[in-house]
Subunit: 240 residues, 2 copies
DNA sequence: TGCACCACTTGGTATATACCAAGTGGACCA
DNA sequence: TGGTCCACTTGGTATATACCAAGTGGTGCA
């Protein structure tokens, strides 16, 4: 199920293994228990244990080397471009958001252009620290057209803003375009993300459109470069 | 298996469904047969049919909406992570390649897995510096299955290898998956790219597939982070 | 001592089965 | 006619089982 009432066992087991890797500081390339051992140890079948490891593999947290076993991967969280919360859900991880500020403001020219707003139209802006499983991963600045989102500044901002868009405003994100580039984190960003000095970041400038092609969100997300990676699947343009 | 002698049934079934979607021009959001029907129709168990659909789901070709069924996804709109040459062309810039080496070699386990090769099968590898308008931008290591590309080591490598694939070997790149991450350039890479010390790079690990879903190319491209950015367009999964 | 070989373990594939939660659509009742 | 409700179908989860290919490591032979 998409929204199971009870946590599936394989998700729970994956969380357990994930915590163990983080908690015991298992070094990259450490050999993990085999699927059979893991299943026996936690009272689930091998296929369920396998599903848990597959989840972690898709997150990039472990890798498999048949017939040797499953190993701890170099740390990095993998993202598809889109919603932070929904990406976390897909990976069975706990997304969280800490609000730094939220306000109605005059958009910058860039933001106004991205959202296709006219002169004088305002935006609702959110600035949040996003984390997964308690680890700060990204600094997110999100802009919505104010006309489209009356009252959004008063709603809870712990979770997915896309969910709010859908449920409260009937707006459906359909496509997203993003530009990824590498940057050097400034002091403030370093502090918020708990990163050391001279750490690089990945800047993801994102525009999201609804089914009618209207731009409904513009965002500037800064990820810790050492913790995030981005996966892209695309159709190749046919040759001319 | 890592390098199956026989194609797994779920891969074959996925290819069949993939071709059907492309061949019959199934419109986005068309309902596909249920997992049970698909399995029965092709003489495999539901779990195997499910595995095939999961493969297609990960490719972004289909999406699931329980309990309604599995549907054809929206096609990806644009592609900006792929062929260096073709991207340069699109931007009206002069792409160039300087060959560092090209050889037939035993693939690494990673490369073998990515290309789906059996033990003992070899690859043709190219290592090139790519530049645009005379500015070095990327270090590219590209692997092709040797069986698929006889004699490719002797062709000119100043331009697009994809063009060679199409014209000489009749192989058509259809989809591409890539993972982008941030790395620190080593000394050799810095030298080749004309970058200063402690410069960061963007590592793009890319697999390209033909229309049959066969992996025809695997590449590790290292871009100067200060010179490159990547544009991504993605279809958002419809809401639950 | 050195090497060939084989048993064992691993993840990968495949099947059969079972139950669950949740939309869908039609039957049925008011 | 209009609305309620339930059977059916769907994908999601979970188990048990079986066989395969391929590294690993130890045994045992030359």
């Amino acid at each position: 199920m998409l929204a199971p009432v009870t946590t599936p066992r394989y998700v729970a087991l994956a969380a357990l293994v994930r915590d163990r890797i983080a908690g015991e500081q298992l070094a990259p390339h450490t050999l993990l228990p085999s699927e059979r051992e893991l299943g026996d140890a936690h009272g689930v079948s091998r296929m369920t244990a396998r599903q848990a490891l597959t989840l972690l593999e898709r997150e990039g947290l472990v890798y498999r080397r048949p017939p040797r076993g499953t190993f701890v991967a170099e740390p990095r969280v993998r993202f598809h471009v889109g919603s932070f919360s929904e990406e976390a859900d897909r990976q069975g991880r706990r997304p969280a958001a800490r609000l730094l500020w939220a306000e109605r403001q005059e958009p910058s020219p860039d933001t106004r252009r991205a959202l296709g707003l006219a002169e004088g139209e305002e935006v609702h802006a959110f600035h949040r620290v996003r984390s997964m499983d308690g680890v700060p991963l990204a600094l997110e600045t999100t802009y919505f057209p104010a006309d489209l989102t009356p009252g959004i500044l008063d709603v809870g901002v712990e979770g997915s803003l896309w969910a709010v868009l859908r449920e409260r405003y009937g707006v459906d994100p359909a496509t997203s375009t993003a530009v990824l580039e590498s940057i050097i984190l400034d002091d403030v960003s370093q502090a918020h993300l708990g990163a050391g000095s001279a750490t690089t970041g990945i800047l993801l400038t994102r525009s999201t459109y609804d089914t009618a092609g209207r731009c409904i969100e513009h965002a500037r997300d800064v990820y810790r470069a050492d913790r995030a990676s981005f996966e892209v699947t695309a159709t190749v343009a046919p040759p001319d």
